[in-house]
Symmetry: C2
Subunit: 325 residues, 2 copies
């Protein structure tokens, strides 16, 4: 099942989307918003699935689905915790900052709490006040949970994964060193995050959903040119179950919590990268200095994932970087 939030109100209007992303049917009779559906998932999921079957069979009243008009599946959420599950990427980024990475990073997940009141629609302009801040994208996969009890272990945690979606975790690289030096983590350096047009239930991914990882390439284009296509199932040191278990060590997670993978990254350099920082680090290692600049106003970033037959699974996050009004 694929779900989207169509424009309308702060939380959008929940719709079921056909598997080919061509048609959508409003799910207002089941729940007005995706958050409302997740708040009562045991009841709403079967009803949404029934609607999805009707839509797929051409029996439900649908209308054309325009992914470029969709909001983020959750236009705002109550919890957004982003991991750094691709530890080899963390190691590279630390190198780029002139910092070393403790060995414990291979066994203890690194996460940060993100702002969740203002998620960017997948095709909305991404506004920034200054190009000097080192505007960068980060291609990621994220899952949405139901209510997860405190102290849930990594295997049990897998049962709490309700939806999967893609993320562009916009980052302001030049603000990061000073902010992290203050000791309390990211805040200004992690502005509003963008999500894919639809969130999907894990079964949509078929065999590509395995071991609480998505075993498909995350395809990133910068200004229309291929930038990277690392496989999200490879080199993901911590699976989503482990990330959720880490998150629930001292707290519950409420329904609709979003847990991110961190920047998808493969050791295989032929796969490219899903953020500029990683490419710049590799350039520094190879050529002594970064060659690829951070983003300028007008640049476009597209993030997408395809099934083995080449069909877009989540629709594209495709945004233009603009100067904030």
């Amino acid at each position: 099942m694929k779900l989207a939030s169509l424009a309308g109100g702060r939380d959008g209007r929940l719709a079921v989307v056909s598997s080919d992303l061509q048609r959508a049917a409003l799910a207002s009779d089941v729940a007005p918003t995706l958050q409302a559906a997740l708040d009562d998932w045991a009841r709403t999921k079967p009803a949404l699935e029934a609607l999805a079957r009707e839509l797929e069979a051409g029996r439900a009243a649908g209308s054309p689905f325009d992914p470029t008009k969709a909001l983020a599946p959750l236009p705002r959420a109550y919890h957004w915790v982003d991991g750094s599950a691709y530890v080899s990427h963390v190691e590279l980024v630390r190198k780029a900052r002139g910092a070393t990475m403790p060995d414990s990073f291979w066994t203890d997940p690194l996460v940060y709490q993100g702002g969740s009141d203002d998620f960017l629609p997948p095709a909305a302009d991404a506004p920034f006040r200054s190009e000097d801040w080192g505007i960068d994208f980060e291609g990621e996969v994220a899952v949405v949970t139901d209510d997860v009890p405190m102290g849930t272990d990594a295997v049990k945690a897998r049962e709490h994964i309700m939806l999967v979606m893609l993320v562009n975790d916009w980052s302001l690289r030049n603000l990061i060193p000073a902010e992290l030096a203050k000791g309390f983590g990211f805040y200004q350096s992690k502005p509003a995050t963008a999500f894919s047009p639809v969130a999907v239930t894990p079964d949509v991914l078929g065999g590509a959903w395995k071991d609480a990882r998505v075993h498909l390439p995350l395809v990133v284009h910068l200004n229309g040119k291929p930038f990277g296509h690392p496989d999200a199932g490879i080199d993901m040191t911590f699976d989503f179950g482990q990330l959720i278990a880490h998150a629930t060590k001292t707290r519950r997670l409420g329904a609709g919590s979003i847990v991110g993978s961190g920047t998808v990254s493969n050791r295989d350099r032929a796969r490219g990268s899903t953020c500029l920082a990683e490419r710049r680090m590799l350039e520094t290692l190879d050529q002594g200095k970064p060659m690829t600049p951070f983003l300028s106003f007008g640049d476009r970033v597209r993030i997408e994932m395809f099934d083995p037959a080449g069909r877009s699974l989540f629709g594209a996050i495709d945004q233009r970087v603009v100067k904030a009004a």
Copy 2:
């Protein structure tokens, strides 16, 4: 105007509460929840104020208000950013961790992004899985904003403060050093936060609301004994306008965003403290080691604020520390 969320559903049922905290009237006709009211504040605020006047005059159908049954004013929220506005406290805590504080901390606010999907009711038990984690309370003041544009300056930001409430920002001190050493800030060391029974509009505070600060003592009791009563208006290096301005440097804030002051702390030691960590630091300075232990299961923490006539303004956060089920 005083607002509370009565039990019922994940977001409670919005009620207007009398100024003496004795009576409440459900505001369902205006908005079902406080978040819904804040989403449409220009319309709902006058309607809620009218209801509050009716309740105050004994003309609205009210019922007795039991602060121990209230939920957090926002039982869950989309954004919870907590400052460390009492910089002299930050200096002390850093000393306790054997760290020094950069001078820039006096001019550049330190904030962290908190989890906001699961706020504890003011009189609910506070559950923790282990006493070994160094369970501590932090008495704070917080404000709730409407929609705040990106790049709002500190003076303009004051106009976006809609509500004020009290906070117990539960902290797990023994988890902090290792977590901060990882570089991404707090996550496991900041479990679910508790808020006061009511949130109030700034006008309720009268002259005590000045310069975007609350000029009243924050009164903390530990197991029924006075623990501290520092004045929240004194030694608050950054006012709430400055904290909001810091928050909006790179992002908008959505309606219902909560901005915290950080642990209230006065240089005047006679005022006591609003967290154990600060008292333990002072003991270390005076006696070479901390004498006051962190909390044990069964301990109670009460946080309250009174008007000059001794009337409780927000009701009490009064929680017992318990072992998580």
